[in-house]
């Protein structure tokens, strides 16, 4: 029986299979966890789905009319109010004041009608009409902003009579400029779905593995497992693979709901997304496994999961636009798998990116996965010391 000792240091598919089968059976019997894994995406989707569909009306608006009481300006403001989206709360005198109101969140929109608006309009010079929106909550502003484009034309048409009539037929009588402030990436409601996919996977995947291994320790079965000739990598892989499948189930639920419940367009290749997905899911599972090697009990494992989940939410570009964050936050964000995953999913689903466009992000995910796996295997103790 020479070579027996060497055998055991190599990966054994049979032992991996042993752990895999055991984990699948245990997962099937653990109804609560199973319900949670399917329930969380559905619950989140319903909650966020409300946000996706929301069409808020009567949003606070301030108007700066430098054109005095011109009839055009008045028609415009009246039409905005009539659309139901805008509630003109204030008419201000100077642009500084207007900025302040927007910055402090007193109003959602700031409309600037420049001096000489009426005259320029009459001459057919297409004067600038500036509408600034506080777009930190894009779901709140986007409907109002799209209404605005139609509105400007309709409001002014009745006033364009006599010699001005030809202006009706031409391009828009005004040069409407919409500025989404505080959200330079113009995060739209569609971004919520990719973001949701990433955050749900981060939360459930990290937590589930962290708990799965810590539970072995807490129940005393770890001592038994360690007394058997099973290698750390076999345990790790056997515990991770079942959850990859669970992750896919979650993704399918989310994609189906996004497409058919909320009508989010899916431009790119779902096949490509599925391939990349496995990296992201595995990266999160490896993080969970690493936590489980440190945590003393399930409570600690949960706490660590949240410790990882929060920065993932905040710094990945899910909560706040990535480019709007300070440098240090961006650097931290670059480390997180969710950041790269969001770029990949947004790219594939919304912009139709192919493999070439996302290769950089895929490399980043691979790097993260490798480093965390090494840490996990180094930390995994084969003794009870």
């Amino acid at each position: 029986m020479k070579g027996g000792a060497i055998m055991s240091t190599r990966f054994s598919f049979a032992r991996f299979l042993a752990v895999l089968v055991k984990e699948f059976i245990q997962m099937r019997r653990d109804r609560l966890t199973f319900a949670m894994m399917v329930g969380i995406p559905i619950m989140q989707l319903v909650l966020f789905g409300y946000a996706i569909n929301s069409d808020p009306k009567r949003l606070p608006t301030a108007v700066l009319s430098a054109d005095g009481g011109s009839p055009f300006a008045r028609s415009l403001v009246a039409a905005m109010v009539n659309s139901g989206y805008f509630d003109v709360r204030a008419e201000v005198r100077d642009s500084h004041h207007l900025d302040e109101m927007l910055a402090e969140g007193e109003v959602q929109f700031a409309v600037t009608i420049p001096a000489g608006f009426a005259r320029a309009l009459q001459r057919g010079e297409r004067p600038v009409l500036l509408v600034e929106a506080d777009a930190t909550d894009p779901a709140a502003t986007s409907n109002a902003l799209s209404a605005m484009t139609v509105l400007a034309r309709q409001a002014l048409n009745p006033d364009l009579t006599g010699p001005l009539a030809p202006l009706r037929a031409g391009p828009d009588p005004v040069d409407l400029r919409l500025q989404r402030r505080y959200n330079p990436e113009g995060l739209t409601q569609y971004n919520v779905v990719p973001g949701l996919m990433g955050t749900i996977l981060t939360m459930t995947m990290v937590m589930m593995t962290a708990l799965a291994v810590t539970r072995e320790r807490e129940r005393g079965t770890m001592e038994n497992l360690l007394s058997m000739p099973v290698r750390p990598f076999e345990v790790m892989l056997g515990k991770i693979v079942p959850f990859i499948l669970v992750g896919y189930v979650q993704v399918v639920i989310i994609v189906l709901a996004a497409r058919f419940l909320f009508g989010v367009p899916i431009v790119g290749s779902l096949a490509l997304l599925s391939v990349v997905m496995v990296l992201f899911i595995a990266a999160n599972l490896a993080v969970g496994f690493t936590f489980s090697t440190v945590a003393k009990n399930q409570l600690q494992a949960l706490q660590m999961s949240f410790f990882f989940f929060l920065p993932s939410m905040l710094l990945s570009g899910f909560m706040f636009p990535f480019r709007g964050m300070p440098g240090w936050a961006q650097t931290l964000g670059e480390v997180l798998p969710l950041t790269h995953f969001l770029r990949i999913v947004r790219g594939i689903l919304l912009k139709g990116s192919g493999p070439v466009e996302i290769v950089g992000e895929v490399v980043a995910l691979l790097l993260f996965l490798s480093v965390v796996t090494v840490i996990a295997l180094k930390r995994y103790r084969q003794t009870l010391d």
Binding site: G3, R15, V19, R219, S227, P229, V230, T383, L384, D385
Partner: protein, 318 residues
Amino acid sequence: MTHQDPDGGGDAPFAIDVSGLVKRFNGRTVVDGFSIRVKRGEIYGFLGPNGSGKTTTIRMLCGLLTPDAGEGTCLGLDIRRDSAAIKRQVGYMTQKFSFWEDLSIAENLDFVARVYGLSDRRRRVEEALERLGLANRRRQLAGELSGGWKQRLALAACILHDPKLLLLDEPTAGVDPKARREFWTEIHALAAAGLTVLVSTHYMDEAERCHQIAYLAYGRRMAQGSVDEVIAGSGLVTYALSGPGVEGAAAALAGRPGVEMVTPFGARLHVSGTDPAAVKAAVDGLDLPGLRVAAVEPTLEDVFIHLMRSATDNFAAS
């Protein structure tokens, strides 16, 4: 040391041969210079009060804990270097039931069989179920079993891969007498077939079924040998007192010089001590009409309590 076969050490005379094992937890020495030698095919009993370091020692033997000092071999394999190889030939039954409660009996056994890479897995699992009378409970979840059945399952799982050495940590705690007897019959059958068994226990009758025993206290080995040797080596003398009113004499005897233990056994009183003359004097000093005094062999329990006492005197203060 001679050249070793990395997987077996098939010709090593001792299944376990360790010396000077030390284990500390947070600066507290829990096992202190422990040495034993266990011959192949022997049933070796491991006794000692709670917290004396039995579990810790067993864990060091099978590579679950790394000793802070000391060395030795298990089945001819170095306990520090070859723990992976040791694990494949050792069956370890933990003190606390440690199989998966959300797996059925058959699933637990099947997992073990896969992990050890047994070639004819299904047949071996089936045989194990039959041998231990678990066949018609195969689908029952391990967590739903009573203590006795859990213990049977654990034993079945431990011997599934035909280990050469069994390490059993209090395998019969909380098991009824009939199941315990069956368990020991099984252990003896396994030993007769060449398996070496190290078993920790708190039961005196189980100690008496072992070929050799070791008694631990405060992480040190206080006594070692066959049961008779341990009793003889203790130097304890015991007198059995009987007769009317003997129960009342217990309090009077307890404080006398030379009297270490006074233990009532039904209508009798056992009086023990290490100094024969002093014990005799104490017993003779009793003024009870009709008192019968007989020198008897001290029980193993007497010896253990005596050993625990002297261990307390020696170490507890330090």
